[in-house]
């Protein structure tokens, strides 16, 4: 069995910590928070593409988790439960921002839209093409920009599956949909991503 990092490993075997936290153990909650903080922050960041908002949502998520963790009956459902709270907080924040009329989620970089970008291909192998070049940072920005242009239901699916690694059944629980709907939404999300990338003149060898 291969484990990516020690933290991922700890997350995989955190059942006992969750159980203790549900019993009101503050130290366990603290540990749980340090285990999941980065994940929830990254989830919120990909939702808003804004550090401050993501920090705010992450903090609110954990305040809410702290308030209601004792109500969690099934330890195994902690992960979808946590992401459900995080998603609700994202929606709340989005509504609040809309009300204030300074919602600027899709702050696309104009420069990157005009020229078109190329994914830097590997130095060898089937994707090798020395004429194409774009650094990792630019590619990340482009992908996030394209992601933000997707409809929310597809965007959430890609974030949860691709970046957060939730199983389809867990996503189904978080979004209160069927597993087959989750798969279908992801399929159309990836298709839409391809179209948006093509619109921005992004070319990847093999597209």
């Amino acid at each position: 069995m291969l484990v990516e990092t020690l933290q991922d490993f700890a997350i995989k075997y955190s059942d006992q910590i969750v159980r203790k936290a549900t019993g009101g153990n503050e130290q366990a909650f603290s540990k749980l928070m340090s285990l999941w903080y980065k994940r929830i922050y990254n989830f919120s960041y990909k939702y808003f593409l804004n550090h401050d908002t993501a920090m705010d949502v992450t903090q609110k998520t954990f305040i809410s988790v702290h308030k209601s963790i004792r109500k969690l009956k099934d330890v195994n459902s902690f992960k979808p439960w946590l992401y459900r709270i995080a998603l609700n907080k994202c929606h709340e924040e989005e509504r609040r921002m809309k009300r204030r009329k300074w919602f600027s989620l899709f702050s696309a970089n104009e420069d990157s839209q005009q020229g078109g970008l190329w994914l830097e291909p590997p130095a060898e192998g089937p994707f090798y093409n020395p004429d194409k070049s774009v650094d990792d940072k630019e590619l990340e920005e482009l992908v996030l920009e394209c992601l933000s242009e997707l409809p929310e239901e597809q965007r959430i699916l890609i974030i949860m599956k691709e970046y957060e690694g939730l199983k389809f059944r867990e996503i189904a629980v978080v979004l209160n949909i069927s597993e087959s709907t989750a798969k279908s939404r992801l399929y159309y999300g990836l298709k839409a991503m391809k179209l948006i990338l093509e619109k921005k003149n992004f070319t990847y060898y093999g597209f």
Binding site: Q27, K31, K183
Partner: protein
Amino acid sequence: MDSKLINEELMAYLYGEMSVGEKKQFEQYLSENPELAVEMKEMSLIKKVVGQVKDKEVIDPFFFGARGTGTTWQTARIIGNSILKPAIGLAASISLIIILGYFTGLHVSTESGHLNIIFGQPAEKEIMQNDNYVNADQVTDIINMRLHEERAYQTDRVSNIEKNFNVRFASDYQNQQQEINSILTENAAINNQMITKFVKQLQQDNLEYLERYFELSNSAQQQYVQTLLTEFSAYLESQREEDLRLIGTSLTDLKENQELQKMETNQVLVSILNTVNNRN
């Protein structure tokens, strides 16, 4: 197969959420449908591009645990947002109003049951004393005197308000400082104990994680070494067979060479015998 179902299967296959049997079946289906295989390749490329976004690093806040119904973390937010900020805001607003009032020459007075609010210098009033008019100089004197009085009064008032505000602000600030100090003192002892416990527990947990990690890594490594040894022994076996074949071939060559040599020797002997016979 239904196209919607194919799309779903495609996603399950792409993200490795299929059982071994399902996977085999789908791979068979893929090999029979080249168009679907192309789509699969496209999808995995998009997945690869989307997967280029890396996680952002973030430092999680230290959580000390609860005291009563709220946490120190929440308390800090409450103190930070609900008490100090509005108090400072209120103080700033009052100061601004006072300063603006002073510079715009705001006059507030009551006269015969009326409230007068005047900006700038009060308008000159026509002063009449019985039948005699007051001359311009007198009017100027009266106005100057009145203005002087008013300015002195307003200055006093502003300084009083400022003084009161400062006293009140200082006392509020002191009270809040005391409150914060008392909360911190109360928590310090508990927190120290908790930090020690937390660190101890953390160390223990990390040790457990590491042990478990190494245990799992060891089993994977053992499996790997076993496979390696099996493969290596198979390699040695094949090498031995190859060597034996080579030795066999060499021996055959040697035998053939020996026979050839024997034949050549015989030929030489025959030729010598012929030569001797001819001479005789």
